[in-house]
């Protein structure tokens, strides 16, 4: 029973000349949320589609709960569920019809299927929308019916492919809450995302993927410390105090402080704790602070730190040659 939820070794998928997935090794322990972080076109979705038995790998191995995704595809299918990037429900059908259809396909009787659908609709706040066609749902509702359909049979492993892309902040928080509850109930989740804060919020471990390769792996904490801290943005009330503030920040944070073109603004790389101390020191020194904020590094900053180039950009010639050699 101790087989990892997901285990891949040298996983490869090529589309024509494009190596969409180029030797990916992953190990995902059961009962956790694992994040695949990367820009568009990094190969996240291709990895998920191979693990969900939708695509055949061109090389390497992939096992889900110890079962091979190619040779034992049916055994894998009975334990996984997929919420794709685009709604994996039938938009012409109503929410209730979609869930009943799925419950029937999973072997529930008609009465059970109807009961199950009603229970799911209620749990996802869609009872009122039950008899409306899914194409008339808002983006957030669509996501919810989609995830609802995915957990209909309480899968052991749930694939969520960019579950919050295109959602408003409130719907996004709802999806996050749902994911937390699903994991707390024992389901393993493989989450792909373009947002570092989403992976940080939900995932126990993160693999950063770029051009089909894992370029970094670890807990969010490890990852963030390896790429450096977030950024502190300070706005002072009085521009005259900026040199004094700059000295204090440089001393406490131990990093280079940048003067912004705005005469009252300063920014510096910083961890949360030193940043708090810096704020205290500024106050002690009677420097009036209008605004003090600590931002997480963005995906762009992560990629800059890991690869010396922005997210999604082609590797430089030197880097590409290095990879070949």
């Amino acid at each position: 029973m101790d087989a990892p939820a997901i285990e891949t070794a040298g996983l490869i998928k090529t589309f024509g000349d494009n190596r969409a997935v180029d030797g990916v090794d992953l190990t995902v322990p059961p009962g956790t949320v694992y994040g695949l972080l990367g820009p568009n076109g990094a190969g996240k979705t291709t990895v998920v589609r191979m693990l969900a038995t939708l695509l055949r790998p061109d090389g390497g191995q992939a096992r889900v709960f110890g079962r091979d995704v190619v040779r034992e595809a049916d055994a894998v299918r009975s334990r996984v569920s997929l919420t794709g990037q685009y709604a994996s429900v039938d938009e012409d059908l109503t929410g209730a019809e979609n869930l009943v259809l799925l419950a029937r396909l999973l072997g529930h009787s008609k009465a059970q299927a109807r009961e199950r659908a009603a229970q799911l609709l209620a749990a996802f706040g869609l009872t009122e929308a039950a008899d409306r066609q899914v194409k008339k749902y808002s983006g957030g509702m669509r996501r919810r019916i989609d995830i609802g359909a995915s957990i209909l049979n309480t899968p052991d492993l749930l694939f969520l492919d960019e579950p919050t892309t295109g959602l408003d902040p409130r719907s996004r928080n709802q999806v996050w809450d749902i994911v937390r509850i699903v994991v707390a109930n024992g389901t393993t989740v493989l989450l792909t995302t373009q947002y570092l804060d989403e992976a940080d919020q939900l995932a126990g471990r993160i693999a950063v993927i770029d051009h089909g390769k894992v370029i970094a792996e670890g807990t969010p904490g490890q990852l963030k410390s390896s790429i450096g801290a977030g950024t502190v943005h300070v706005r002072l009330r009085d521009a005259a105090q900026r040199p004094a503030a700059e000295r204090i920040l440089a001393e406490v944070l131990g990093s280079a402080v940048q003067q912004e073109s705005d005469p009252v603004a300063l920014t510096a790389r910083a961890e949360a704790e030193p940043a708090a101390r810096a704020l205290a020191r500024l106050t002690e020194a009677d420097i009036a602070v209008d605004n003090f904020s600590l931002g997480q590094p963005s995906l762009d900053e992560v990629f800059l730190a890991l690869t010396d180039r922005p997210a999604g950009a082609k590797p430089s010639v030197a880097a590409a040659e290095g990879a070949v050699a």
């Binding site: 969900a52 055949r56 997929l82 072997g107 009787s109 749990a123 309480t154 809450d177």
Partner: protein, 283 residues
């Protein structure tokens, strides 16, 4: 946050609750997987629901057959048989076959547009009998074939078609047509998966269907045709299907022709069903 175009959401701001969701998730009852037939019928139900929500799609199985029947009856009737009433006795089973066989191409067009949507990703990750989604889709199409055949039969009867085989003969003829069309649809599922766009599916369908339906015994007796054409008409499965259905509706079932049609149907499913599933699994 005050104005909104989504009243349902605004009224009940949804907050996921770990109790209700937990209750859903805690139900670990995993029933046995459904049988191949049960899964296919469930997918057939999906097709019926789609017809219910988009009834306009029935236009092509009602209006098109009506036009075909009226057009050819009055176009050829006088010239070929002396009168439209006379021609209809010969022509009606044939135009029924032509219309329904032509309608089968929408199976491929429908699949081509359907499969690009995310919902097929979900279907293909379900632990059910693999062909069920496609078989169910064709089950739904079979309903359309029956509707088209019924429409033509009603028009025919109104115009003076009098089948000697009576009600049973008509039902038997339609049944054989439906069996053949079900089998024939697998050609289009293959093209639907194989070709890149809806338009190319349409194009290929027309290329296959026009010769197949016109170069047959539907419109005229093959004895009037040049020898090389007769040779083609002889091996055309539509010819055998039409002969079989004519004989059933006339009350004098031609067993060899019926057997020929059934064997051809089985062969179509075996060949194109297999090719379709191979493409479906690779998609």
């Amino acid at each position: 946050m005050s104005t909104t175009t989504e009243p349902a959401e605004a009224v009940t701001a949804y907050a996921p609750s770990s109790e209700t969701l937990g209750a859903v998730l805690a139900r670990a009852d995993r029933p046995k997987r459904p049988s191949a037939l049960s899964a296919s019928l469930t997918f057939g139900w999906r097709a019926v629901l789609k017809i219910k929500h988009v009834p306009e799609q029935l236009f092509d199985v009602t209006a098109f057959p009506i036009i075909m029947t009226l057009m050819f009856t009055y176009l050829f009737g006088g010239a070929l048989a002396g009168s439209t009433g006379e021609y209809l006795q010969f022509f009606l089973p044939g135009i029924m076959v032509t219309s329904v066989v032509m309608i089968t191409m929408y199976t491929g067009v429908g699949l081509n547009t359907d499969i690009e949507k995310g919902v097929f990703d979900r279907f293909r990750t379900l632990p059910v009998w693999r062909p069920a989604a496609l078989v169910g889709m064709i089950f739904g199409d079979v309903l359309r074939y029956i509707l088209a055949a019924t429409t033509i039969m009603v028009i025919g009867l109104a115009l003076g078609f009098r089948p000697a085989g009576g009600v049973l003969g008509v039902i038997g003829g339609v049944a054989l047509l439906v069996v053949f069309s079900f089998a024939f649809s697998w050609i289009w599922t293959m093209f639907g998966l194989f070709l890149r766009s809806e338009k190319s599916v349409m194009g290929v369908s027309m290329l296959v269907l026009f010769p197949l339906t016109f170069l047959s015994n539907v419109f005229v007796e093959p004895s009037t045709m040049p020898g090389w054409l007769q040779a083609f008409v002889e091996v055309n499965p539509v010819t055998h299907l039409v002969s079989a259905i004519r004989s059933i509706m006339a009350g004098t079932p031609d067993m060899p022709e019926i057997m020929w049609t059934l064997i051809a149907s089985a062969a179509l499913v075996a060949v194109f069903g297999t090719l379709t599933m191979r493409l479906y699994n690779r998609k």
